[in-house]
Assembly symmetry: C2
Homo-oligomer: 354 residues x 2
C-alpha cells in the first residue's frame, strides 16, 4: 500500500474543491475537515468520501456557492440556513457563530437547516477547545434505524460529539453514532461472508438476524435498545425538527439519493468554561480526572484503559509521517483527479502521492 502524508491529502482535497467551483476560503475549510477524519483514523469519513461530495456538487445537489444566513438570532442562540452548502462549510461557520455567542453569554446553541452530510462531528466539537470551551455537536442523518419495536427506517444513526478541554492531557472527545454499529461494519461482514453478532441489526420484518445480507435489507439496531432509540430521536428533534431541517424518514441519503438534496440538520452548543470556573483550575482538574481513570485497575486481560477520543489522538500521532491509504481510495482519487484535471494525465496510482 502507498504511504501518503496528511499534507498531500489536504492539498489534493483543496485542489479538488477548487476545481469543483468552491471558493478558496470554503475549499480550505472543507479540505481541512475532510482530512481531519483521516488524521483521526476515521478513514470512512475522510478523503474516501471526496468522490461522493464531488458527484453531488457536480450534479448540483450541493450548492457550491451557498449564501449561508442567520435566519433567527438571540444572544444565546441562532438558526442558520445553510442554503444547501457543503455540510463542512456550513457547520464550520455555524460553530464559529455559536462560540462567539457563548463568549458573550456563557453558553449558546445554534441549530442549522438546509445543510448536508458534515463529515465527523468531532471536528466541530473540537473547534470549541481552541476557545477553552466545551463543544457539543449532533446531526441527523438519512434513515437507517427503526424505532424500538418497529421495522421501518425512521431514524438515522444520528451521531453526537462532545469535546472537553484538558491541560497537559489529551482533551476528552466523544464522537459516537447512536446505532450500536455503523452500516459500514455490516457491509464488511457481508463481504467476508461472516455472521453478525445478534443485536446489531434486524431484517426487514424486524426479526433479529445474524445474516449480514438480511441485515442490509433491514435496519440497524440502536445502542442499548430503547436508550439508543431515545437518543437518536432526541438528536433528530434538536437537529431536525427544532432547526427546521428534514427529519425522520425524510432526510436525503448521501449515497442513495442522487436526485435531491439532503436537507440535513445540525445542532451545536458551546459552553464557555471560564464562565463556570477559572479555566486553569478546570484544566488541572481534568488532567487529574483523566489520569485517575487512565491509571485505574484494568480488567483481566486488558492492557490499557483509554479515555474517549484517546485512541484517535494516538492514531493521529502515528500518522504524522504518513500512513497507508487504501488502494481502492487511491484509485478513486486518481480517477477524480483526472476528471477534474487537477493531476497530470500520466499520473498513476503509484505516482499520485509519490
Amino acid at each position: 500500500m502507498q504511504k501518503v502524508r496528511i499534507t498531500q491529502l489536504k492539498e489534493f482535497s483543496l485542489k479538488a474543491f477548487r476545481a469543483l467551483g468552491i471558493s478558496e476560503n470554503d475549499a480550505k475549510i472543507a479540505a481541512d475537515i475532510l482530512v481531519a477524519a483521516d488524521v483521526r483514523g476515521i478513514d470512512s469519513h475522510g478523503v474516501a468520501r471526496l468522490p461522493i461530495y464531488a458527484k453531488r456538487l457536480q450534479l448540483g445537489l450541493i450548492n457550491k456557492n451557498p449564501q449561508i444566513k442567520v435566519v433567527r438570532e438571540r444572544p444565546g442562540m441562532a438558526v442558520v440556513d445553510g442554503d444547501n452548502g457543503l455540510g463542512q462549510v456550513v457547520s464550520y461557520q455555524a460553530m464559529k457563530l455559536c462560540m462567539e455567542k457563548a463568549k458573550q453569554t456563557g453558553t449558546a446553541a445554534v441549530a442549522v437547516k438546509n445543510s448536508n452530510h458534515f463529515g465527523i462531528g468531532a471536528y466541530y466539537a473540537m473547534m470549541a477547545l481552541e476557545e477553552d470551551m466545551i463543544g457539543v455537536v449532533a446531526t441527523n442523518t438519512s434513515p437507517l434505524m427503526a424505532p424500538f419495536g418497529g421495522k421501518e427506517p425512521m431514524l438515522g444513526t444520528n451521531p453526537i460529539a462532545l469535546a472537553v478541554p484538558a491541560g497537559s492531557q489529551y482533551p476528552v472527545v466523544l464522537d459516537m453514532a447512536t446505532s450500536l454499529v455503523p452500516r459500514g461494519k455490516i457491509e464488511i461482514y457481508a463481504r467476508k461472508g461472516e455472521k453478525l453478532p445478534l443485536g446489531w441489526a434486524i431484517d426487514k420484518e424486524g426479526r433479529p438476524t445474524d445474516d449480514p445480507a438480511e441485515a442490509l435489507k433491514g435496519t440497524l439496531l440502536p445502542m442499548g435498545g430503547p436508550k439508543g432509540y431515545g437518543l437518536a430521536m432526541m438528536v433528530d428533534l434538536l437537529a431536525g425538527v427544532l432547526a427546521g431541517a428534514a427529519f425522520g424518514g425524510n432526510i436525503g441519503s448521501l449515497f442513495g439519493d442522487m436526485d435531491r438534496s439532503q436537507n440535513v440538520g445540525h445542532f451545536m452548543m458551546a459552553i464557555d468554561v471560564n464562565s463556570f470556573q477559572p479555566i486553569a483550575e478546570f484544566k488541572t482538574t481534568m488532567d487529574n480526572y483523566i489520569l485517575s481513570v487512565k491509571n485505574s485497575a484494568p480488567a483481566e486481560g486488558v492492557k490499557e484503559i483509554f479515555l474517549p477520543g484517546e485512541i484517535e489522538f494516538v492514531k493521529g500521532k502515528g500518522r504524522e509521517d504518513g500512513f497507508e491509504l487504501n488502494p481502492v481510495v487511491v484509485k478513486n482519487l486518481l480517477d477524480l483527479g483526472k476528471e477534474l484535471g487537477i493531476v497530470a494525465a500520466d499520473t498513476t496510482e503509484e505516482t499520485l502521492f509519490a
Copy 2:
C-alpha cells in the same frame, strides 16, 4: 396489596418533610418531585426513597435549611451552590433559574454543586415543557461503573433526561441511566436466584459474569460498551467537574455513605423553542413526528411502538385513581410516620392509606 392515591402519598411526604424540619415551601417541592416518580411508575425513585432521605436529613448529612446561592452568573449560564440541600429543592430552583435565563437569551445552562440525589431527572427536564422549552438535565451519581476496559468503579450510572414539548400528543421524554441496567435490577436477579444476561455487569476482576452475586461485588457495564462509558463520563465532566461538585469515584452514596454528604453535581439546560421557530408550528411538527413513528410498521411480534416517555404517561393515567403500593414500602412509610409523629400511634399498614 393496598391501593393508595397519589394525593395521599403527596400529603404523607409533605408531612414527613415538614416534620424533618424542611420549610413549607421546600417540603411542597420535595413532596411533589418525590411522588412524581410514583406517578410515572418509577417506583424505585418515589416514596420508597422517603426513609433514606429522612435518615440523611436526621443525621445532618442533608442540610434541611440550605442557603442556595448563585455563585457565578452570566446571561446564559449560572453556577449554583446547593449548600447541601435536598437535591429536589436545589434542582427545582436551579431549573427555574435556567428557564428564566433561557427566556432572555434563547438557551441557558446551569451547573449545580453541593447537591444531593435529586430523584428522577425527568421531573426537571419536564419543568421546561410548561414554558414551551426543551429541557436537558443530567446528574452524576455515586460510582457503580468501571471505565471501559477497567474494573474499578469510577463512574456513576449518570442519567440524562430530555423533554421536548408536543401539541396534542404526549411530550417526548427520555430519562435514562448510561449503564445498561440499574443496580437494582441485578439485586432482583440475586433475590430470585436467576442468572444475569451477559453484558450487564462484570465481577470484581473485570470478567463478564452471569452470577448476580459476583456482579454485585463487581461493577455495572455501560450501555453500548465504550459509547455508554463515554456518555457517563461526559455527564460527570459537566455535572461534576464543570460544576465544581464531586466526581468520579468521590461522590457519596445515598445508601452507602452514612458519614458524609454526597456533593452530587447536576447540569441542566433550557432551550426556548419560540426563539428557534414559532411554538405552534413546532408543536404541529412534533405531533406529526410522533404519529409517524407511532404508526410505523411494528416488528414481527410487536403490538405497539412507544415513543420515549410514553409508557410512563400511560402508567400515570392508570394510576390516577390510585395504585397498589408495595407492602414493604407501606411498612417502611408506617415506621417512618410513627417515628416522625405524623401518623396516629394506632395506625396500621391497613389503615395508613385507608
